[in-house]
Structures are given as structure tokens and as C-alpha cells.
């Protein structure tokens, strides 16, 4: 038993607080889960059942037609593939650039580097609407509108603040003596980075990969602005578009939401610790 409750458990009278807290949390947890459970239930029911008000009852038989409809729709394959084609290179690209700048800010500081670092990190907090119009014009001028390129470029650029922040903080924990020893033995900064600092920073890379992938996968604004044709849509954009097509087919919409969220849910289930760590680090250590 934990020390903090030692006094409570040794006292002769019954302490109702732990039980009360547990009950309280359980009630809140049920309320919090209800929306997600609702989607899950709807995806397993016919539209008729939902309209008849049977959404919140447990399904009596396993009805998977909604998922079959979603998974056999070729448009959805295209949306998923497009999103993957954006999320993977953009995640890798932003982390690669963050490694470079993070290393300089941690190990090769110079006059004014603190200010430069703060200015980059501040970029994390700005509403993207601020740069929407000039980027639209830029990609229009380059003839890249309605391709996947604008999203890849923009997500790499917008990822630089968080990647720089996280990598700098991590590289800062690598002992300076390690770097100096390697430099004295004739290693270049690049070798120190790739052979010494980076292998020690795998947890930071895991944190950043989960964060960046989830954000980019879930993004909506940039593809909304930069794409037009159906075969260039990302999954979140496709979700909104198909809502019109399946406007009263609530069950299909539910299945669609779940399929679209599946990659990020898997990431969450397996890398939850990294995810939470990244979110708190990014927020607190600005």
C-alpha cells in the first residue's frame, strides 16, 4: 500500500474518500466514453434501427454491412492512400529538419541563438489562418494546387517548431563530455550527431513520430484549401465529403469515422506513453 494512504488505512474509522473518488471517476469516465461508444454502436446498426431510437441499445446480432460498404468503396482507398503519402514523408521530413536545428541549439549555441530558438518555437502556437492566403498564392503560382505536394511541404514546415523544441531538449541531456571526446578524436559534428547523439535520442524520435503522424493524419484545413478533385482528397476531407453522400446513412457514417480514426487509435494504443509525454513536453517546456 502506498505511504500516502498509510495514515488513512491505519485509522480505526472507515475512510470513505477513496471509494467516493473511484465512484466519481467511474461516472465521469462513462460520460466521457459515451460519445465514442455511440459511434461504435451506430456503426454496427442499420439506419432503420438508429432512426427508431435503438441506437443506445446493445446490438442483438453482429451487423457488419456498414463496414463492408466503407471498406469496399474505392474512393476511401484513395483517401487513405493519399493521407499516408502525405503523413509519412511529412513526418520524416519535419523530424529530420528538427534534428538538425535541435542539435545546433543544444550543442553549438551562438550569440542570439536563444532568441532564434524562441522565435521558432513560438511558431507552434500561431493559428494557421495567418499564413493561409500567401501559401495559397504561392502553391497556385507553382502550379501545385490540387496535388499532394502542398500538404507535404506545409506539414514539414509547420512541424519544425515542435521538432526543434523536442530535439533540442533531448540533445541537451546528452553529456557535453561525450561530444568533446569524440571531437578530440577527430570526429566531425555530423558524426557526433549521427553516431553519438541520435542513437541516444530514440525516445525523442518515438515521441515526435507519434505526435506528428497523428496531427498530420487528422489535419483538415490544409487539404481543404489546397485540393479540389476527389482523387486528391485526404481521409478527413473525404469524411466530410462522404457525409453528404451518405447523409442519412448514420451507420455508414459511423463506420467511416472509425475507419478514418483507426491508424491514430492504433498509434494511441501502442504508443500512448510517448504520445502523452510529447503533448506535455511540447506544452510545458516552451
Amino acid at each position: 500500500m502506498n505511504d500516502r494512504y498509510a495514515s488513512a488505512t491505519t485509522s480505526p474509522s472507515f475512510n470513505p474518500w477513496p471509494a467516493a473518488i473511484f465512484v466519481c471517476l467511474t461516472v465521469l469516465a462513462v460520460l466521457f466514453l459515451a460519445p465514442t461508444i455511440g459511434v461504435l454502436l451506430s456503426s454496427l446498426k442499420t439506419t432503420q434501427d438508429i432512426a427508431l431510437g435503438k441506437l443506445w441499445s446493445l446490438p442483438t446480432s453482429l451487423y457488419l454491412d456498414n463496414f463492408a460498404t466503407v471498406l469496399t468503396n474505392p474512393a476511401i482507398h484513395t483517401y487513405l492512400l493519399n493521407t499516408l503519402l502525405i503523413a509519412v514523408p511529412a513526418t520524416a521530413g519535419s523530424i529530420a529538419l528538427g534534428i538538425l536545428s535541435g542539435y545546433v541549439f543544444a550543442k553549438l549555441p551562438f550569440r542570439g541563438s536563444d532568441i532564434l530558438f524562441l522565435a521558432i518555437v513560438a511558431g507552434m502556437f500561431f493559428p494557421p489562418q495567418v499564413i493561409l492566403i500567401p501559401l495559397f498564392r504561392l502553391f497556385n503560382g507553382l502550379g501545385l494546387l490540387d496535388t499532394l505536394w502542398p500538404m507535404i511541404f506545409v506539414h514539414i514546415a509547420m512541424g519544425i517548431p515542435i521538432c526543434t523544441l523536442m530535439m533540442r531538449n533531448f540533445f541537451a541531456t546528452v553529456p557535453a563530455a561525450l561530444r568533446e571526446a569524440a571531437i578530440i578524436e577527430g570526429a566531425s559534428e555530423w558524426q557526433v550527431l549521427s553516431k553519438v547523439a541520435l542513437p541516444l535520442s530514440l525516445p525523442a524520435l518515438a515521441v515526435l513520430s507519434t505526435l506528428q503522424f497523428t496531427w498530420i493524419w487528422n489535419d483538415f484545413l490544409w487539404p481543404l484549401i489546397f485540393t479540389q478533385s476527389d482523387d486528391k482528397r485526404t481521409i478527413m476531407l473525404g469524411l466530410v465529403f462522404l457525409q453528404g453522400q451518405y447523409s442519412v446513412a448514420w451507420g455508414i457514417q459511423g463506420a467511416l469515422s472509425l475507419v478514418a480514426s483507426l491508424p491514430t487509435l492504433i498509434v494511441f494504443l501502442f504508443f500512448q506513453r510517448y504520445f502523452i509525454k510529447g503533448m506535455t513536453m511540447g506544452a510545458v517546456k516552451g
Binding site: 471517476l25 493524419w217 500512448q272
Partner: protein, 290 residues
């Protein structure tokens, strides 16, 4: 010295790629927005001219802009009250060594990894007039037969969206508070327990985390767009418009890109002020720990 020169070269080699990308795709567009805000550009072609402060003067004559400002402020206040308050309560409850703490933590945190689009869609169903969870629950309690359309009524649309958004943000606030609570050395917690410290005293200990959560909530409320877009689109009758939404509508629905740029400049200045205040507070927070 040769080593110093090497260092400078490496600094340049390593900083130029990220700074070039960041400069071209973030910093330069930021300044371009200022430039376009003084023009009447329509989004296409090179046919636009300098109009001085016209766009900014138009802002004060635009009832929709004023509406958007008021709604954004309401959203900010709600962001400070709802996710922050609920997040703190959840964090304190979970931190009390309750059994299954990690399960509770995951449940409250889960919505964060859903996209705003999916969150919006889920809540559209909750507010669905005929079989949505909210009306079903109300009818169950009151025994009535309510078919209230929460998202279609001017009086409730904005708050309905804010509730959905708060549902997602609460988990984030909770983990930041938890990080703050666990950052307090455990021997300190024990001292507090021995001396019979009240919950109020513990809350004061998480003040640094509170700064972070409030600032993040306010900043994130400025970005609130996706969830609004899918739930109400700013409607009905623009009653749930925010600055971000208004900027999008003016720029990419009506193609008033010059005016849209002016709105984005206002958005930028508000964000800048908040970030400035936040960084100053963070410095103070750091000093407390040092």
C-alpha cells in the same frame, strides 16, 4: 582557431535547411499577409491595387466581424473555465492513488487522438434532434418529448460546439496538470499530508501547470476551426462564427482575400500578445523551479 571556424560552418550547414524551409513557408507568408491586407486582391490573377487602411476600416463596419470577435472571446472564456476546471478536477482525483488510475487516464485522454472532424461528427449525433444522446437523456429524465435542434438554433449553436471542443481538450489539460502534480517531489507531498495540507494548498502547487493549461486553452481556442466547420459552419445566421471561421469564409468563400488578410493580421496580433504573455509567465515559472 580552426575548431571555431569548423563550428561556424557546421552551424550554417545544419541551420540553413530548417531555416530555409521555415522561412519560405511560414515567416515569409506571415509578412505577405500583412502586405495583402493593404490590397483588394480577389484570390486570382495579378489584378489588385493598394487600398491603404480600407480593409482595416471595413472591419469596424462589419457586423459579422464584431460577432466573430465576441464569439471568439466567449470561446476563450469557456476554454479557460471548462477544460481547465474539469481537467484539474480529473487530475486531482486520478492523482489520489485511485485504483485503475491509468485506465481512467486513458479514457479521458482518448478524445485527443481523434481528429476534430471525427469529434465534430460524433457530437453532431449527440445533438441529433430525434435520436441524439442529449435529447434522449433529457426525455428520459423529464419524461417529455424534446426534439430540440441544438445546432440549428442561434441561441445554442455556439455553446454546443464549445462543449464538443471542450470534451476533446479536457484530456490534454488533465495530463498537463498530472505532470505538474507528479513533478512535485513526493517527500514534499508527504510533508503536506502530515501537516494536513488542504486540497486548496495542493491546487496552489500546480499553479505553473495552470499557467500552461490556460495559455494553451486560449491559444487553441483561437485555432478552433475544424470542429466548427463540420458542426455548424459558423451558422445559423453566423451566430457561431469565430475569427478563424470568418477569415476562411471571407477569403475562400467570397474570395475577399485582401479583407481576409486583414482579419488574419488581427488574428496574428491577438495570438502574438497571448504568446508574449505566456512566454513571460513561463520564465517566471522556471525561476520558481530554479
Amino acid at each position: 582557431m580552426n575548431l571555431e571556424r569548423d563550428k561556424t560552418l557546421w552551424r550554417l550547414a545544419m541551420l540553413i535547411p530548417p531555416l530555409a524551409v521555415f522561412g519560405v513557408l511560414v515567416v515569409w507568408p506571415l509578412f505577405s499577409s500583412f502586405y495583402y491586407s493593404f490590397t483588394n486582391w480577389n484570390g486570382f490573377g495579378a489584378n489588385y491595387r493598394y487600398v491603404g487602411l480600407d480593409n482595416f476600416l471595413q472591419i469596424f463596419d462589419d457586423p459579422l466581424f464584431m460577432r466573430a470577435i465576441v464569439n471568439t472571446v466567449i470561446w476563450m472564456l469557456a476554454a479557460v473555465i471548462l477544460p481547465t476546471g474539469l481537467g484539474l478536477v480529473l487530475a486531482l482525483l486520478i492523482d489520489s492513488q485511485v485504483p485503475g488510475a491509468s485506465v481512467f487516464k486513458s479514457i479521458f485522454y482518448l478524445p485527443i487522438c481523434l481528429s476534430a472532424i471525427v469529434v465534430g461528427q460524433i457530437w453532431v449525433w449527440i445533438y441529433q434532434p430525434d435520436w441524439g444522446l442529449l435529447n434522449t437523456a433529457i426525455n428520459l429524465v423529464t419524461g417529455g418529448d424534446s426534439h430540440f435542434a441544438w445546432l440549428a438554433k442561434p441561441g445554442t449553436a455556439l455553446y454546443a460546439v464549445i462543449a464538443a471542443w471542450s470534451w476533446q481538450q479536457t484530456g490534454l489539460a488533465m495530463v498537463i496538470f498530472l505532470a505538474g502534480l507528479t513533478a512535485i517531489p513526493s517527500d514534499l507531498v508527504e510533508v503536506c499530508h502530515i501537516e494536513g495540507a488542504s486540497t486548496g494548498q495542493r491546487i496552489r502547487q500546480v499553479r505553473p501547470a495552470t499557467v500552461v493549461v490556460v495559455a494553451l486553452g486560449v491559444i487553441n481556442s483561437l485555432k478552433g476551426f475544424d470542429v466548427l466547420y463540420i458542426m455548424t459552419g459558423g451558422g445559423p445566421f453566423n451566430t457561431s462564427d469565430t475569427l478563424a471561421m470568418h477569415m476562411y469564409n471571407e477569403s475562400f468563400k467570397k474570395y475577399h482575400m485582401g479583407y481576409g488578410s486583414a482579419i488574419s493580421v488581427v488574428l496574428f496580433l491577438i495570438a502574438l500578445a497571448i504568446i508574449f504573455a505566456y512566454f513571460r509567465q513561463l520564465r517566471k515559472v522556471d525561476q520558481i523551479y530554479e
